[in-house]
Amino acid sequence: MPAPPSKKPRAPRVRIHPLGDSALLAELGTKLDTALNTRAIALADNLKKRRDVRQAVAATAGVTVHFDPDLVTITALGAAIKRLATKRPPVAEPGRLHRIPVAYDGEDLADAAATLGLSSERVIELHTRPIYRVFLVGFVPGWAYLGPLPEELELPRRSVPRTLVPAGAVAIAGRQTGIYPLATPGGWHLIGRTTVKTFLPNSDPPCLFRAGDRVKFFAAPTG
C-alpha cells in the first residue's frame, strides 16, 4: 500500500551507523552537495555543545561523532541527532574567502589536459573559474577537500599513486580539488603549485581552511 502523502516538506533522512563503540556516523546523504554540507556543518556545531560528545566532525554529507559511552548510549545519541537534524539549519554566513595564487606548471597538467581533450590553457581557465567550497578538512593536517570541480575537469585518480607529492602541489581528482599541505604520497593529478601554506603548525586549529570556507584560485607565475 502506498504511504499517505505527507504535508510537511521532509527533512533529509538521517542514517545512524555505529563506528565502533565510541563513535557513530550520521549520514545525511550520499551526494557532493552544498546544501547537505551546510546541514552537516550546522549539525556538527550543535553536537559539539553536548557534554557527552567529545568531537563532531562535519564531512561532505554527514557527521562523525565521537562520544563518551559512559555518558550516553548510541541509541539515545542517535535519536537526539535525528531530532536535531529535522531542524532547519540557520542561514549560514558565507565562509571566509581565500584567494590562492597558483603556478600552473604541474607535472600532470599536459597529460590531464590530453586525457580530457582540452588545451592546458582551457584546464587553467576552468580550474580558476569557480569559487570552491571547503567540504571537509581532514585526511592529513592541513588537507581540505574543495569542490565541486567543473564537470569538464572530472578525471579518475591516477592508477598508480605517487609515493611522494611535494607540499604546495595543487591537484584534481573526481569532482574535487585540493592542495597538498605536506610532502605525502598522493594519487591526484598535479596541475600546479602554490606558496600559500595550508598547514599552520603554530596555530590551533593548525589548518588554514575550515569547513564552509570558500577558495578561489588564480594563475600567478610563481604561485
Binding site: 551507523h17 555505529p18 565502533g20 554527514g62 592529513v140
Partner: protein
C-alpha cells in the same frame, strides 16, 4: 597505541593516567637513570632488565642513580611502555605531548628518541612507593590475536560469504604497517557499491580499498577517508591490536555495540582500581 598499557604504567607509579610515557616498538632502549626514580614497564614483554637481572613488568619498582634499564629482546607483543613517577617532559602540541613524526611536533623535538638524548621529568613525583602491581589475571592477553569488532557503516556492501570471511577469516599483518595503520594480507574482501564520500574516521576502523586488502587504522590514522568501512574494532581490543607485529596472524570476532561497551567498561574498571 596501547592505551591500556600506557595508562596502567602511569598509574603504577602514581602519575595521572595521561602523563607522557615512552613507547618502545619491537626493540627497547638502553636507559641510564640519572637519579632515584620509581619506574614501571607495561605492554609488550621485551625482556626488561635492571642492571642485567630480570625486571618486573606491570609493577612499580625503584631504580637508583646509575642503574641501567635495558631490554634483551621481544618475547610477546610489539610495544612496551615505560613510565616514571613525575612523568616524562615532552613538547606539547594541540594539547598532547605525543610525538607526531609526520609533522615533526610533540615529544622530544617531534622525532624518535636517539642515543645520547636526555629526558627530564614533567613534574614532581606524587608517589615514591614501589610494589604497586597489576594482578596477572587482569593483564591483557596479548597472545590471543582475536579482535572483537562491530559491524561498520558499510557492512551491507559485503555479501554473506564476504561477511563470513571478515568475521572468521585469517589475516596477517603486513610489513607495510606503522602507527597510522596495518595493511592486512590473506583473505580479500569484495565490497560492492559506488564510491563512498569522504567521512571522519575512527581508530580501529577496518577500511577496504578497491583491491580488497583491508587496512586496520591505528593511533596516527588519517582523520578522513573515502574507502568503505565494514567493521570497527572494539575499544577493548585496541590494546591487543596495538601489540601486533608484522607477520602476526589476526582475526575478527563480531560483537554488538552493547557487548563492546561492556568490555570497554570492564577494562576501565581495572585501571580505576589501580588508581586507589
Amino acid at each position: 597505541m596501547d592505551r591500556f598499557a600506557h595508562r596502567a604504567a602511569n598509574l603504577l607509579v602514581g602519575n595521572p593516567a595521561i602523563d607522557a610515557t615512552l613507547e618502545c616498538t619491537l626493540k627497547g632502549p638502553h636507559l641510564v637513570a640519572t637519579h632515584n626514580l620509581l619506574v614501571a614497564v607495561t605492554g609488550a614483554d621485551l625482556d626488561p632488565r635492571l642492571n642485567g637481572s630480570p625486571a618486573p613488568m606491570w609493577t612499580g619498582f625503584l631504580v637508583t642513580g646509575g642503574d641501567r634499564l635495558t631490554f634483551e629482546g621481544r618475547r610477546l607483543g610489539a610495544r612496551a611502555y615505560i613510565a616514571v613517577a613525575g612523568g616524562f617532559l615532552g613538547d606539547r602540541w594541540l594539547g598532547s605531548a605525543s610525538t607526531y613524526v609526520l609533522v615533526g611536533r610533540g615529544g622530544l623535538a617531534g622525532r624518535a628518541l636517539k642515543a645520547g638524548d636526555s629526558i627530564s621529568l614533567a613534574h614532581d613525583p606524587v608517589s615514591q612507593v614501589p610494589g604497586r602491581e597489576l594482578d596477572r589475571d587482569l593483564r591483557p592477553d596479548y597472545s590471543d590475536h582475536t579482535l572483537y569488532a562491530i559491524p561498520g557503516p558499510h557492512i551491507r556492501r559485503l555479501d554473506g560469504e564476504g561477511r563470513h570471511t571478515l568475521f572468521g577469516g585469517e589475516f596477517r599483518v603486513s610489513h607495510q604497517s606503522n602507527r597510522m595503520g596495518y595493511r592486512l594480507e590473506g583473505a580479500t574482501l569484495a565490497m560492492s557499491g559506488d564510491e563512498v564520500l569522504s567521512f571522519g574516521l575512527a581508530v580501529g576502523a577496518v577500511q577496504v580499498p578497491s583491491g580488497g586488502q583491508p587496512i586496520l587504522l591505528m593511533a596516527d590514522h588519517q582523520t578522513a577517508g573515502g574507502y568503505p568501512v565494514p567493521a570497527v574494532v572494539a575499544s577493548a581490543s585496541l590494546p591487543v591490536a596495538a601489540q601486533l607485529a608484522p607477520g602476526d596472524e589476526v582475526r575478527f570476532a563480531e560483537v554488538s555495540v552493547e557487548k563492546a561497551v561492556e568490555l570497554r567498561s570492564a577494562a576501565l574498571r581495572v585501571l580505576e582500581a589501580l588508581r586507589a
